[in-house]
Structures are given as C-alpha cells and as structure tokens.
C-alpha cells in the first residue's frame, strides 16, 4: 500500500510542478514566486516519496532554482553557507569522536549498569541513558550505539523475538528515549538548528544554545516522566529478574578498563565546547565553536580523519543545505507573503488553535517523512501564518521543530525507530499502540508548555 501511495505522491508532485510552470501567474504572486512554488512542490513530493535519496533531491532543488530564474546562481549557492550547516558539520565530527573512541558506549554501560536486578529499573536505565546521550550527540548515533548493548541484554535474558513483552519494551524504550531526548538541544537533532537557521534568515532573530534548552526542556522532561509512569503502571513486564544481563553489562564495563588517552582528550574538548556554547556564545558563535571542536578532535588525534569519514554521512550536509535553500526561496520570492494573504488571513481560526494544529500536523507528517524534510516544508508555511496573524515567529519555530522531532510510530519516521525495529523484537502494531498514546500525551504537554510555560519566560504568542 505504501508503495502505491509513494507513486501517487511522486506523480502528483511532477504534475503540479509542470502545471505551475506553464500556467499563467496566479494573482498576487510574481512569476519567480510561482516557479519557486513549483520547485517546492516537486522537492516536497520527492522527499515524501523517496524517489531519490533525500540529499540528491536537495541538490535537485538547488539546481532548479537558478535554472528557472527564481534566484541568481550566486545568491542560491550562498544560501547554502548558513551557520546551521557549519554547526551541524562540527557537531557531527564531535559525535564521531564519542562513537569511535568508545566514550559513548562507556557512558551507556556505566549508566545502565546502575539499574540493578530489577527489570523495571533496567528499562529506566535504558530510557534515561538514551535520553541523556541524545543531549550531547545525534539521536540516531545514540540509537546505533545502544542497539548492540540492548540486543545483548535481550539475548542474555533469553527473550524470544515477538513473544517476549519485555523484549518489545527494551527496544521501544531505547528508540523513544533517544527521540524524546533528541528534541532538547541542538546536538540531539540537527533539525532544531535548521529551524533556527531559517528563523534567523527570515526574521534576523537568533536562538542561542542555552536559550533553546530553556524553551525546550519541559517537553522532554515531562514526556520522560509520563513514559516512565506508563511503563511502571501499564506495561506488562513478563520477566522477574535481570541479574544475568546485569552481570554481562558489568563484565563488559570492566573489560573497557580505565579511560584511554583519546577519551580523556575528548572529555576535555567536549567540556570546553559545551562551556563555550552555554556561556560564551555572545563572544564566539556556536557554529564557530562547533567547528573548532571538530578541528581539535582531529588535531589532537582523538580520532583520525578516515575514522571521521567512516562515521559521518556527508549527505546530511547536502540535505540540510538544500532544505535551507528551497525553504528560503519561498520567502525571498514572496510566496510566503502571498500564502499569508491568500490563505491564512482567510482562515477563521483562533491564533493559538492555529499554532496547536500546526504542531499536531507537523508531528503527524514527521511519522512518514524525514523530520528534517518535515521542518523544511512546514516552517516556511508557518512563517506565512506568522505574518497573517502577527504571531511570534519564535513560537512557530519551536512548535514546528519540537513537534517535528517526536516520531514514535513508524520505522520510516526516524532512524532510532528503524534501528529498534530491525531487531525483530516487535511489530509495527506494538509501536503504534504505545506510540500513539505517547504522541497524544506529547501534544497535551506541548499545549500546556505553549500556553503556560513559554509566556511565563517571556515568550508571547503575539508580537
């Protein structure tokens, strides 16, 4: 069924692309804007249908914009050089150090080993380890790092695939811990920074590293607590003792020995980088700090460049860069203004209700589409609404980016879900059952945070 849906999306995108290019310019829109809209529709349909790898679709968007005279070639390419892209680049190199030196798995082993013999505590150990590590490295890398550990736990406890409820819980907890933790900082999910990059480009408003955490933290914090309560109260834990896995974890942890030289250097570099992000961001831009951190990781031989290259998939840079360029073209050519006047100002919705619906829509879209693509597609539209309703663009940015990260249901929504699903310990229907509950609770928490917490810290709905 998904196959046919993808085909429909692909051909719809191509047909609308051609129609928009050949039809007379729509009232209120300039010719360049109409062509930008055509490119946007085509790229959106390709991102959703995965006709091409995401990064290649991004390149197609970048190539079509100057080709169709939407923007000059120099300007189009210059949009690629956004601060967000360079922050992501530096952060990926830093994360490669955490993965390659084994510091990440050492942290994971140590935290999970604290959980003791209780099955419930072991689940909590995995949940909080996943969430904690996703504060300092990309959530997909955390899932990849935790996956063999969780798999080893499942094997040592002799949990049968699809039969053991505890086996299901282990992998779902791992995936959802990273998803929840990943929305907290710029490091967990680079889409957060992509959203802020778009905000900065269009409104010249910046959100610092610490400021983002100040806005975001209640949502992951409350979600983690609620999820922990759900596991304790409603999940069926069908084993009584996890001492076998604990012994194995402790043995693995001991086998790692004391900190290696590379790990010690990495701790120092990471400490300095995080300190700079939190306290010196007025003096040194966070993207510059990230790049310097990346340089130090290689210069101090924490990892060598070849190892970095085997860890980092540079396609991500193309994907993010393309998303910035295509999304920016809509604003630059007045498409967002046109949409604000044409559609959003006609809608008779209370502005706060609009924000909630926007967040819910993004969180639904992100289940089937890469969360970066979701943010890149929705945010320019959200900016149109900001103009129509005089809404605070910071709130819209947070609403789209935070909701865009919360993919709980399907393996294609986000890599942690795909990695957990590949264990074969649960079926999609298991993830749907619990993920839907978590999703709805996530919406409720988001509404509470947007309604009460953000105004409390000075973030008003209207500007």
């Amino acid at each position: 069924m998904f196959k046919y849906l993808k085909e429909i999306v692909k051909y719809t995108g191509i047909i609308f692309f051609i129609i928009l290019l050949v039809m007379p310019t729509m009232t209120g829109l300039n010719p360049a804007g109409q062509r930008a809209l055509a490119v946007f529709v085509l790229v959106l349909s390709f991102w959703v249908s995965h006709v091409l790898p995401l990064s290649v679709t991004s390149l197609l968007g970048i190539a079509l914009l100057p080709l169709l005279n939407v923007m000059t070639i120099e300007y189009t390419f210059s949009l690629f050089g956004s601060k967000a892209i360079f922050f992501i680049l530096g952060a990926l190199i830093l994360a490669s150090g955490l993965y390659q030196t084994g510091l990440g798995s050492r942290l994971a082993f140590n935290i999970i080993s604290f959980s003791g013999k209780s099955p419930l505590k072991l689940l909590y150990g995995i949940l909080f380890t996943a969430a904690f590590l996703s504060l300092i490295m990309p959530e997909h890398a955390v899932a990849a790092l935790l996956f063999p550990i969780v798999l080893e736990i499942a094997v040592s406890l002799d949990l049968k695939r699809l039969e053991s409820n505890y086996g299901k819980l282990l992998f779902l907890t791992m995936a959802w811990g990273t998803v929840i933790g990943g929305i907290t900082t710029y490091l967990g999910g680079a889409r957060n920074l992509l959203a802020v990059g778009l905000l900065e480009k269009h409104y010249r408003i910046s959100i610092g590293f610490f400021e983002w955490i100040k806005y975001s933290w209640p949502i992951p914090f409350l979600l983690l607590i609620v999820f922990a309560v759900i596991i304790a109260r409603f999940a069926k834990i069908d084993i009584e003792d996890t001492s076998r896995s604990l012994e194995k974890l402790q043995a693995e942890s001991e086998a790692k020995g004391s900190f290696s030289k590379a790990e010690k250097k990495l701790v120092l570099i990471l400490g300095s980088v995080v300190f700079s992000w939190l306290f010196l961001s007025n003096l040194i831009n966070i993207a510059v700090t990230a790049l310097l951190g990346g340089v130090l990781v290689v210069a101090l031989r924490v990892v060598d460049w070849q190892e970095v290259e085997s860890y980092v998939n540079w396609g991500v840079i193309l994907m993010y860069g393309g998303a910035v360029v295509v999304a920016s073209s809509l604003v630059e050519t007045g498409v967002t203004d046109w949409m604000a006047a044409r559609f959003f100002s006609q809608l008779e919705l209370a502005p706060f209700l609009f924000i909630i619906l926007l967040a819910i829509f993004t969180s639904i879209l992100t289940e089937g589409v890469s969360n970066v693509a979701s943010v890149a597609v929705i945010l320019p539209l959200a900016f149109s609404a900001a103009e129509a309703y005089n809404l605070n663009p910071v709130i819209l940015t947070l609403s789209v980016a935070l909701s865009g990260g919360l993919a709980f249901l399907l393996p294609m929504g986000t890599p942690p879900n795909a990695i957990a699903f590949s264990s074969g310990y649960y079926q999609i229907k298991d993830a749907l059952k619990w993920g839907l509950v978590l999703k709805v609770i996530g919406w409720l928490i988001y509404i509470l945070v947007a309604r009460f917490y953000w105004p409390l810290i000075g973030l008003e709905v209207f500007i």
Partner: protein, 159 residues
C-alpha cells in the same frame, strides 16, 4: 509416513510454529527444516544510509552486523530446539541452514522431495526479510499446487 518441509525466513513467533508442528507432525513422519541464514540486511542499510538516516557507513555496518549476528544465532538455536522436539516426539528430522541466494536449490528440493505439505514462516519486517523472494516463492508454490501453511512471524495467513 508423511513428509513435510518447514522453511524459516523469520525467527519471530516460533512458539506458534512449534505448536503447528506438534499438531501436524506425527511420530515417524519426516520434517525437512530449512532455516535461512541472513548474511546482510540490505533494506535496513539503504534506509539508514540515504532514506532517513544519514548514518555513516561504519555506524550502519555496526548496526547491520548486530542484526545479522543475532539472526544467525537465532537460526542455530532453533535448529537445536527442533532437534530436541524431534527426539521427544519421534519424528525424523533433516535440518539445514540455507543462504538466500540458494532459493533455486530450495525449489529444486521441494520438487524432488515428494512432500505432503510445506510450512513457511515469512516476516513483515522488511528490514530483515527480502520481499522479492517472498513473492517469487509464493507464486511458484501456487503453481505447483503443494498444500501449504504460510505464516508471518508465527501468525498463520494462508491466501
């Protein structure tokens, strides 16, 4: 004496597969067990590298290796488990691990073995099962009209 074949493309829901065997295989019957030994997870690899993942090759191959290792371990464990069942229930067992590319050999064996029925356990998890082979085998089985029970991760779903 009847002769059956069990082909395992999935190691999910084996408890239900065992129940099915216990119900259908009588003492002195013969069971040919062919268990797939997964060597790679190409869909998972592709998905994590370019569809949504953007993970580096090293990270993806680490994940893939973990998946493959556990599947291979499952396959070997199950062969031991079924050998115990055969001994306890008195049916004859001929067990073999197979590789995916040897599907043609399986077809040949099915044809030549003069079977009374075949049981196959597929998976809905596209990251670890090859959907192309699944369609190919199902179409071929329809053609040769051999009595069959098809399972997906232990759930019986005959067409």
């Amino acid at each position: 004496m009847k002769k059956y074949m069990l082909v395992l493309f999935s190691y999910g829901g084996l408890k239900k597969i065992n129940e099915h065997l216990e119900k259908n295989i009588k003492p002195n019957d013969k069971l040919l067990l062919r268990a797939l030994l997964v060597k790679e997870a190409p869909k998972l690899f592709e998905h994590l590298i370019s569809d949504v993942g953007f993970l580096g090759e090293k990270v993806v191959s680490d994940v893939e290796n973990s998946v493959v290792d556990i599947y291979q371990e499952n396959a070997k464990d199950y062969l031991d488990e079924i050998a115990e069942m055969a001994a306890a229930r008195g049916f004859k067992l001929d067990k073999k691990l197979i590789e995916e590319q040897n599907l043609e050999n399986i077809k040949k064996e099915i044809k030549e073995s003069d079977l009374d029925g075949i049981f196959i356990n597929f998976s809905h998890n596209e990251f670890v099962s090859n959907q192309v082979k699944e369609d190919e085998l199902k179409k071929w089985l329809k053609k040769i009209k051999l009595p069959q029970d098809i399972f997906y991760d232990g759930e019986k779903k005959n067409d």
